[in-house]
């Protein structure tokens, strides 16, 4: 029996880029359900997504991308999906490469797969500020939790059924790429990184501006430090 796969695409004003992403992912993972989680875009994102064959839900952007992803996790949990794939809707992750990432998922060697742009030669390299924030957070993850991850802010993450259930049911769960990683690690899930290419952005602007970058980094570092495990055991459960 084919596994039930849900692909969620959080989007905000991505009408130009999202169409090919949806068709691309449908070709790569035949039979998957694609769900666009839109933050009430002011352009045609919703119409384009529906036309490309995706289901659409809208979560107000005031609640952030976190609430959007959590709604997707809830949907995957209730719809009894076997895998949840979260990729960016701007087309920077080539949909075809998601197939490689599904390999450790399908053979059961990982519960959580992260698509990392740093494990190979990606076409796109983030700017200095972004790199600095990524490496700071990765360093903290390593020191505080003993997690070795090269791309901890990657927008490409895949969860299996057990992890979806854990995230959907755990009262303490609130989504952020980083929180998802350490909560899964702490609960004993196996995390694996695979290379995914990242193309430079073709349309639109990233919502990750300078101010937001600082805020994102600050928020995540505070979150990491304040919710630090009391016993600093390295790699406690793996």
């Amino acid at each position: 029996m084919n596994p039930k796969i849900l692909v969620i695409l959080p989007s905000l004003n991505e009408a130009k880029a999202i169409g090919p992403v949806i068709t691309g992912i449908k070709e790569t993972l035949p039979g998957c359900t694609v769900m666009v989680i839109d933050g009430y875009s002011t352009d045609d994102t919703v119409a384009v997504s529906l036309k490309a064959g995706a289901e659409v839900i809208q979560v107000d952007k005031a609640f952030g991308i976190a609430a959007a992803i959590e709604a997707g996790i809830l949907y995957a949990y209730r719809g009894k999906f076997d895998f949840l794939v979260r990729i960016d809707s701007d087309g920077q992750h080539p949909p075809k490469e998601v197939k490689n990432l599904m390999v450790p998922m399908l053979n059961g060697s990982a519960d959580f797969v992260i698509g990392s742009r740093f494990l190979g030669e990606a076409d796109y390299s983030p700017n200095l500020l972004r790199n600095a924030s990524i490496s700071t957070i990765c360093f903290l993850l390593k020191v505080l939790y003993g997690i070795k991850i090269s791309d901890c802010t990657s927008g490409c993450q895949i969860y299996n059924r057990e992890l979806i259930t854990f995230f959907a049911k755990d009262r303490l769960f609130e989504y952020s790429e980083i929180r998802a990683i350490w909560m899964a690690h702490k609960a004993g899930f196996r995390i694996k990184e695979e290379f995914i290419n990242m193309a430079p952005r073709e349309h639109g602007v990233s919502s990750f501006t300078l101010g937001i970058a600082f805020f994102y980094m600050f928020k995540n570092i505070v979150d990491l430090i304040l919710s630090m495990p009391i016993s600093l055991k390295r790699g406690a459960k793996t």
């Binding site: 989680i37 919703v46 997504s49 529906l50 036309k51 490309a52 064959g53 995706a54 289901e55 659409v56 839900i57 809208q58 979560v59 107000d60 609640f63 609430a67 959590e70 709604a71 809830l74 949907y75």
Partner: protein
């Protein structure tokens, strides 16, 4: 030592807080869990007024030798406790609103 006048004012004020909080809880204008802090404050005020040497005793226990300073410390500490309590309430309510937003989003799902 506090003067008799000051103690009577303190007692009246403490009782007033108690009556107002009780009134608000009865009218469902204030949920009882949120009223706990106010209830504690009124009890404290009453205790200060009724028990002679209460403030001085507590101050000496904490190693503060001026009564005025002890009252100030208690007031600031109490305020901070209330603000923390309010922050917790705000977080809780934000969580609930988020949950509603997610459920609403899923209910309003659009099919291709």
């Amino acid at each position: 030592m506090m003067s008799l006048k000051a103690r009577i004012i303190g007692l009246v004020f403490g009782l007033l807080v108690l009556v107002v909080v009780s009134f608000l809880v009865r009218r469902r204008k204030l949920y009882n869990i949120y009223a706990i802090t106010w209830f504690m404050i009124s009890l404290l005020l009453i205790a200060i007024s009724v028990v002679p040497g209460f403030v001085e005793g507590v101050a000496a226990l904490l190693g503060i030798y001026s009564t005025q300073a002890a009252i100030l410390v208690a007031a600031v500490g109490g305020m901070m406790a209330i603000v923390l309590h309010l922050s917790i309430i705000v977080t809780d309510q934000h969580k609930q609103i988020r949950q509603f937003e997610k459920e609403l989003a899923l209910l309003k799902k659009q099919q291709p």
